[in-house]
């Protein structure tokens, strides 16, 4: 079953493009990555799903219900972490969390303490005394507090130190294991790599690709680093399947997809200093996608 279905969603702010014909689905129980550079339209898509803004055209459903018509009903089961968290500066953390909880039925208030403990957050400080990382933690807790069926995270890790990010990922994985579906937007690709099952890549307001993260990495791309001894002939590498070809002094880097013997043959008679064949990181694969689009 699809928890989120987005169909040809378009949003213009006056003449300014927000998103154009965005379509993708998020299945129940998965952690779905939503990847793109800043300004690509990730927040616009998410904020439309929550009917914080209204689409110019197209539709979206959550739990099978139209996200505008049944907005209130749907939002009972959504936990949302906005990309920018400020909240009520003069309130104490605990009061913000209690205020947040007051909008939902049957909230287990002991979760405030357990979540705060996990994330190492002082509940009795005022919001305006918190660092941006700690404000983010308040955002995370208010998003998870009511045990939502769908968790929507917009750039959740910015401001968190690596240790805290790790704890946060564990938290998300736990919620996911308990049955929550997660939509996770980010411009940092490596964090998605280890968490998500599928990703949608958005650029300039349009979806470029929706792919299984496994397929994406297993797409037979290999990352080659070849270090030559002395001079060599760059033109050897001008054949189909090679992309992102770069050279620095006697070292050549490229991505290759296809029959690996082609590369081996091209190296015949060369004296090598070093040869590395690796799985490319997602970052490199995405760079490849973006470049292809340009």
């Amino acid at each position: 079953m699809n928890v989120i279905e987005i169909n040809q969603l378009t949003k213009y702010y006056g003449k300014h493009r927000g998103i154009e014909n965005v379509s993708f689905c998020v299945e129940e129980g998965e952690i779905f990555g939503f990847i793109g550079p800043n300004g690509a339209g990730k927040s616009t898509t998410i904020r439309t799903l929550l009917s914080l803004i209204y689409p110019t055209s197209g539709t979206a459903t959550i739990f099978g219900k139209d996200c505008i018509k049944f907005g209130r009903e749907i939002r009972k089961d959504i936990g949302y972490l906005p990309s920018e968290v400020f909240y009520y500066e003069h309130m104490k953390v605990i009061d913000v969390l209690k205020y947040s909880a007051s909008f939902y039925d049957h909230v287990d208030m002991t979760r405030i303490d357990t979540l705060a403990e996990t994330l190492d957050l002082d509940l009795h400080k005022r919001i305006d005394d918190l660092s941006s990382g700690n404000k983010k933690k308040v955002g995370i807790i208010q998003g998870l507090l009511h045990e939502p069926k769908l968790i929507i995270l917009d750039e959740p890790t910015s401001g968190l130190d690596p240790l805290m990010q790790q704890k946060f990922f564990e938290l998300i994985k736990d919620e996911n294991k308990k049955g929550a579906t997660v939509l996770f937007s980010s411009h940092i690709l490596t964090e998605v790599q280890n968490l998500c099952t599928r990703v949608a890549i958005i650029k300039d307001g349009s979806i470029i690709k929706v792919e299984n993260i496994h397929d994406l990495r297993e797409n037979n791309y290999k990352k080659f680093t070849i270090e030559f001894q002395g001079a060599f002939d760059m033109s050897r590498f001008k054949f189909a399947g090679i992309t992102n070809l770069t050279q620095e002094e006697t070292t050549v880097h490229f991505l290759f997809r296809g029959n690996i013997n082609k590369v081996i043959n091209s190296l015949q008679g060369q004296v090598l200093h070093n040869l590395l064949v690796e799985e490319p990181s997602l970052e490199e694969i995405f760079m490849h996608y973006y470049q292809k689009e340009d």
């Binding site: 939002r75 400020f86 009520y88 909008f103």
Partner: protein, 265 residues
């Protein structure tokens, strides 16, 4: 209910300051009356010497300010101005401040409909203007009684406060509408200030130039006259009616526009 109490608490300090200011203005104003009446100077004669324009700005028209009711009726213009500013600013800010404070994404992603946020906020507005009104009422009766042999003119002051409250409601709704229509809180409060001051100067202009009398329908400050309320003890029911209808229209507009608004982060 949570939004209502949150908002009530958040506005408590500002309401306290407004009420204290109003209390002090009434106190200081009535102190001047004591100055006039005890010095034995014929204040009406003295004022005749001033240019008409100046008198109009200060709201001292054709009333006998040597009597306490007449003197107090002059205050009504300032009450309208102050209460108007208070109410319109409250309306403009309360509707738009979640976006200004970047808490709109937090609040409106909760399972609430837009109107379920606006309604408690506007109700807090009504509570606030009512408290401001009651403080004005209590302070007025108290200080009038002080200089009027213990007679606080409760009936007439009460009638004046009814007129004031109708105006406050109107300004609250106007502010809310501006807050819903305009992009930012800053813009909404600027336009609100422009509206109140514009209405005030228009009412002064009407006082100054008799041939501009027809303009009086355009400014809410001309819908009620202090001297009619305080001296005749009557209130213009047609003014009450018009203002209430306008309040209703403006409030409905606020709801409709806000419901369709794209919230900013």
């Amino acid at each position: 209910m949570n939004i209502f109490f949150r908002e009530l608490k958040g506005n408590f300090k500002s309401l306290l300051i407004w009420c204290l200011a109003q209390f002090f203005i009434i106190y200081a104003g009535m102190l001047k009356y004591q100055g006039f009446s005890s010095s034995g100077v014929d204040i009406n004669k003295l004022l005749e010497g001033f240019p008409k324009g100046l008198m109009a700005v200060f709201g001292v028209g054709s009333v006998d300010v040597s009597k306490v009711a007449g003197f107090y009726s002059v205050f009504f213009l300032y009450f309208m101005l102050l209460a108007g500013v208070h109410a319109i600013m409250f309306g403009a800010v309360v509707v738009s401040k979640e976006e200004r404070d970047h808490s709109a994404d937090f609040l409106f992603s909760k399972p609430v409909k837009r109107y379920q946020v606006i309604t408690p906020k506007l109700l807090v507005g009504v509570v606030n203007i009512l408290i401001f009104n009651l403080v004005t009422f209590a302070a007025s009766v108290f200080f009038i009684a002080l200089y009027n042999n213990g007679d606080g003119l409760v009936d007439k002051v009460a009638l004046t406060m009814v007129a004031l409250f109708v105006l406050q409601l109107f300004f609250l709704a106007l502010g809310a509408m501006l807050g819903a229509v305009l992009k930012t809180t800053k813009l909404a409060t600027s336009v609100s200030a422009f509206f109140v001051l514009g209405a005030f100067f228009l009412s002064v202009t009407v006082d100054l130039y008799n041939n501009l009398e027809f303009l009086k329908y355009l400014t809410p400050f001309k819908y009620f006259e202090g001297k009619v309320l305080m001296l005749d003890g009557t209130i213009s029911l047609s003014s009450v009616g018009i203002l209430l209808v306008l309040t209703f229209i403006l409030t409905s507009l606020s709801y409709i526009v806000f419901n369709q608004r794209d919230l900013t982060t």
